[in-house]
């Protein structure tokens, strides 16, 4: 535990990407199996301990500290695990300390936690906390609550593992879904002691491919004959995977981040009767019509699934890519070929809950511009309301995890909507004074040490009372800093809250670090489903600003009118 704690501690302070890689690679090289494998699992977020909830930790400290002093301390530090680690009473004497610390290796902690019953957990945690020093306590609590927040993405950790051998990080991504902690076969392969691990999961998640934003002005540089276009649906992206192992059929639904959500969508997993991995949009269809995102949200928010819910909110998969079929990996094939295979598969599946996202026919950009302006007339028909733009996909593009350049483009219908990440929240005034209701949000931009968020605006309306409650709770539970009435909330690549922000226009601003100010921004939707790293980038706003500049001669009146309506 001590070495793992020291690694986390150093990673938390190390600002540079290369420095973090060096630290992790060094640790993986010098630490034996299975300890390093569990460390990798912890850093990539592959561990979760059912019973280890923050309230257990609060109960433990409540037995050991005055409640007022604890609240004041927590308020100051902002992070529960760190507060408890710092306040935990020191053992006097400490004679047995070293022996206990030695037995509480990370492997021991992980395997013990996995088998421990809920009632035994508090005493076990307390024994470990007594045995560890401050850094050890902090690391243990971070580990069991599953929020390391050390500024290391799963991708970076895999990159560090890849650097042990001569492997590319993508090679690890490809075998990763079939692997389990402590990853001994992965390390054996990387270090050249064994062959490549085979993917044994019959229905694994495939890391998704993402798109870049594009504007009308950018089209001229592209050749329309190289691209296919699809509607961009206003639902939530999922991956539906089915396969068979040892005579057992497995069908799973994953979120875009690889979280399994099968249990919430039995109506959809039942429909997956052919083997393959489909990338598509989860929608609610009623009488053959796509319902608004709000309707979908109501189903997504529901924890328990019952017959009534399934009937009122029938889930539907609109398929747009095929990543594997009958055990064959299709991701190396060009998009056009994958699309042809997808069409055949959906045909064969022949199920009312699964259809194909149609291609939007065009041969010139002008035709596509016209189609995007009027989806109803261009084939979307009665579903046009649910179209939020078009996707452009290069016909020859392989399916690459992450956000490769130049292959997939999203061209949103309403340019005045972006996905931003909540950075700071401030208490409101009047009847909202007990809520954190003023939000500062940011978008990604390249910084000295990789991508960082830069604030682009502040919004304090556009959400329902229920949503305000949810955001307020999120703010309180995820505060990392306090500045008087302002709280800074967690906002790294993996953790944070994505806000869809609608606004009336953009202006250049010397006051903002981003150089851009939004006119009348408001929260149009909460994207709990979206990981922060998928939020928009500053370049997207800069492009919007340029097209805005070009259009100002005709826009001011319309803007003034809508601005009036907002305030």
């Amino acid at each position: 535990m001590n070495r793992f704690a020291a690694l986390l501690d150093r990673l938390a302070y190390e600002p540079s990407r290369n420095g973090k890689l060096r630290l992790m690679t060094g640790y993986f090289r010098d630490t034996p199996d299975p300890e390093r494998g569990y460390a990798l699992a912890a850093i990539t977020g592959a561990l979760s301990f059912r019973h280890a909830k923050p309230n257990i930790i609060r109960a433990l400290i409540a037995e050991r500290a005055d409640p007022v002093l604890f609240e004041l301390s927590w308020d100051y530090v902002g992070d529960l695990s760190e507060t408890v680690a710092l306040m935990w009473p020191a053992r006097v004497g400490g004679g047995e300390r070293t022996t206990l610390a030695a037995t509480s290796s990370l492997s021991n902690v992980v395997t013990t936690l996995a088998s421990l019953g809920k009632s035994d957990l508090p005493a076990q945690l307390a024994a470990w906390l007594d045995a560890l020093d401050e850094t050890g306590r902090w690391a243990l609590l971070k580990l069991v609550t599953g929020s390391l927040r050390i500024g290391v993405s799963a991708r970076l950790a895999k990159t560090a593992v890849a650097a042990l051998g001569d492997k590319a990080p993508d090679e690890i991504e490809l075998v990763w879904p079939g692997l389990k902690p402590p990853y001994t076969e992965l390390f054996a392969w990387i270090e050249g002691r064994a062959g490549k691990p085979v993917n044994v999961d019959p229905a694994p998640f495939h890391p998704v491919m993402l798109s870049h934003a594009i504007e009308e002005a950018d089209l001229a540089a592209l050749d329309p004959s190289h691209f296919a276009a699809e509607w961009k649906w206003d639902g939530t992206r999922v991956q539906a995977v089915a396969g068979e192992a040892n005579g057992r059929r497995v069908a799973r639904l994953y979120s875009r981040t690889g979280e399994e959500i099968s249990a919430s969508f039995p109506d959809l997993t039942d429909a997956l009767t052919v083997d393959g991995a489909i990338d598509g949009e989860l929608l609610i269809l009623r009488d053959g019509r796509v319902q608004s995102f709000n309707v979908l949200q109501q189903r997504l928010n529901r924890k328990t699934v019952n017959a009534k819910l399934l009937e009122e909110f029938p889930a539907h998969l609109r398929a747009y890519d095929l990543l594997a079929e009958n055990g064959e990996d299709l991701r190396e094939l060009p998009f056009a070929e994958r699309r042809a295979r997808l069409e055949q598969l959906v045909d064969r599946l022949d199920h009312a809950r699964v259809d194909i996202s149609p291609l939007v026919p065009f041969s010139t950009w002008d035709e596509l511009i016209a189609a995007r302006a009027d989806p109803a007339a261009a084939g979307a028909g009665g579903d046009a309301e649910a179209v939020e733009g078009v996707m452009l996909k290069r016909l020859d593009a392989r399916y690459l995890p992450g956000r490769p350049k130049g292959l997939w483009w999203k061209w949103k219908r309403d340019p005045h909507v972006i996905d931003a990440v909540l950075m700071y929240a401030q208490r409101g005034s009047g009847k909202r004074s007990s809520f954190y209701s003023d939000y500062t949000f940011g978008v990604w931009t390249a910084g000295e040490n990789g991508d960082e968020l830069v604030p682009v605006g502040k919004a304090y309306f556009g959400f329902t009372d229920e949503e305000l409650n949810d955001i307020d709770r999120f703010v309180r539970n995820n505060t990392i800093n306090r500045f008087g009435p302002v709280r800074e909330v967690v906002h790294d690549a993996a953790k944070g809250l994505v806000l869809e922000v609608a606004f009336e226009g953009l202006q250049r601003s010397g006051r903002h670090k981003s150089g851009i100010a939004m006119r009348f921004p408001r929260i149009s939707r909460l994207r709990w489903d979206k990981p922060p790293h998928e939020a928009d980038r500053l370049e997207t706003l800069q492009t919007m600003l340029r097209s805005e500049d070009a259009a100002t001669s005709v826009r001011p009146l319309a803007r003034a009118a809508s601005a009036g309506a907002d305030s």
């Binding site: 302070y13 500290a65 004041l72 100051y76 530090v77 710092l86 020191a90 800093n481 500045f483 302002v486």
Partner: protein, 352 residues
């Protein structure tokens, strides 16, 4: 027999706009505005200001004020030795080591057998650059609360020095740039580095040269000290250089080869604070008492009244109340009216 009204601590000292004032003694302690007669606990700029009529302090504190403000920093000065008693008005005052920085003192003010101790800033752990904190039993104790929360437990500073020296050994090609407050912290850290057996030259930012030379002139062995401005970039590889915390982020750092940014402060106990400043190597070394030190000291003074200044008053007042002590915060002007975050950062930069 003359009627002797029982003296209350607030008849001896009470907070005013200019700072703690003793009407019956005719003086202020650490006043924040110019006054006729000032008693100064120690040389830090929030306690020792220029422009008073007469100043009474330890010789070291007077020397430091002279160094910082020039010869005319006060109308007149008088040095007092630790333990020496002096009659001022209807009071008797004495100065006692506070263990905070060289020359720092707690000031005991007594009248009619009632004793009030204004401790200034203090710490109850060993510091090779100043006399150890001396416990003065009293009826009312005025304590600071810079680290007045139970999350502040500073630990053994020698372990932090070892962390620094390990990092220096690990990165021989890089310079270690250590932010430390110029008066006190810098010299203590240097003395501790020497005590740990490190005898290579240590480099100084120009802003801390005069005060560090002064410490050396008072017989504190700080070894071979050189100035950063006299060294070439390549020479600085593998070295330790000290600078004021505010210099850690400025252009000045470009003269170092791939510097590791370290900061010696009690604030480094809390991770978010260290990360906020971009510190890569946080060293938890404080010249203020930590939570355990504050509470142990308060209990040991035997005081039945505790007045709390400087920082996290609320938690310490709560602790005192639970122990049955009468406690209240002293809202000395200049504290508590700023944005919480800004005040914290500012005070971390000032002296922590």
């Amino acid at each position: 027999m003359a009627y002797l009204k029982a003296m209350r601590p607030e008849d001896i000292l009470k907070p005013t706009a200019a700072g703690l004032c003793s009407q019956i003694g005719g003086f202020h302690i650490d006043p924040v505005r110019p006054v006729e007669r000032a008693l100064i606990t120690h040389g830090h700029s929030d306690h020792a200001r220029a422009g008073h009529g007469a100043v009474l302090a330890t010789q070291e504190t007077l020397d430091m004020m002279r160094l910082r403000y020039g010869d005319d920093f006060a109308g007149s000065t008088q040095a007092i030795r630790y333990g020496e008693a002096l009659k001022l008005g209807r009071t008797e005052v004495s100065f006692h080591p506070a263990g905070h920085v060289l020359g720092s003192a707690q000031i005991c003010v007594a009248a009619n057998a009632v004793r009030v101790v204004a401790s200034g800033d203090y710490k109850d752990v060993a510091d090779p650059t100043c006399l150890a904190f001396e416990l003065v039993r009293c009826d009312a104790f005025i304590t600071e609360a810079t680290f007045g929360l139970p999350v502040f437990r500073h630990g053994d500073p020698r372990a932090e020095i070892a962390k620094l020296l390990n990092s220096v050994a690990l990165f021989p090609e890089r310079a270690h740039l250590l932010g430390a407050y110029s008066l006190g912290k810098a010299q203590r850290v240097i003395a501790m580095i020497r005590a740990a057996g490190y005898d290579k030259p240590i480099y100084l930012h120009g802003a801390m040269e005069a005060i560090t030379r002064y410490y050396a002139s008072r017989g504190i062995d700080l070894g071979d000290l050189r100035l950063v401005r006299d060294a070439k970039k390549a020479e600085l590889a593998g070295t330790i250089a000290l600078c004021p915390p505010s210099s850690l982020q400025d252009r000045w750092t470009r003269r170092f080869p791939d510097p590791v940014s370290a900061f010696a402060s009690g604030w480094m106990r809390v991770r978010a604070r260290a990360r906020q400043r971009g510190v890569e190597l946080p060293l938890v070394i404080s010249d203020h008492a930590d939570w355990d030190g504050l509470t142990a000291t308060i209990a040991a003074t035997g005081a039945s009244q505790v007045w709390v200044t400087h920082g996290a008053e609320e938690a310490l007042v709560h602790w005192c109340t639970m122990k049955g002590l009468a406690a209240r915060p002293l809202n000395i002007v200049g504290y508590g009216d700023e944005d919480e975050g800004a005040a914290e950062i500012a005070s971390a930069e000032a002296e922590a």
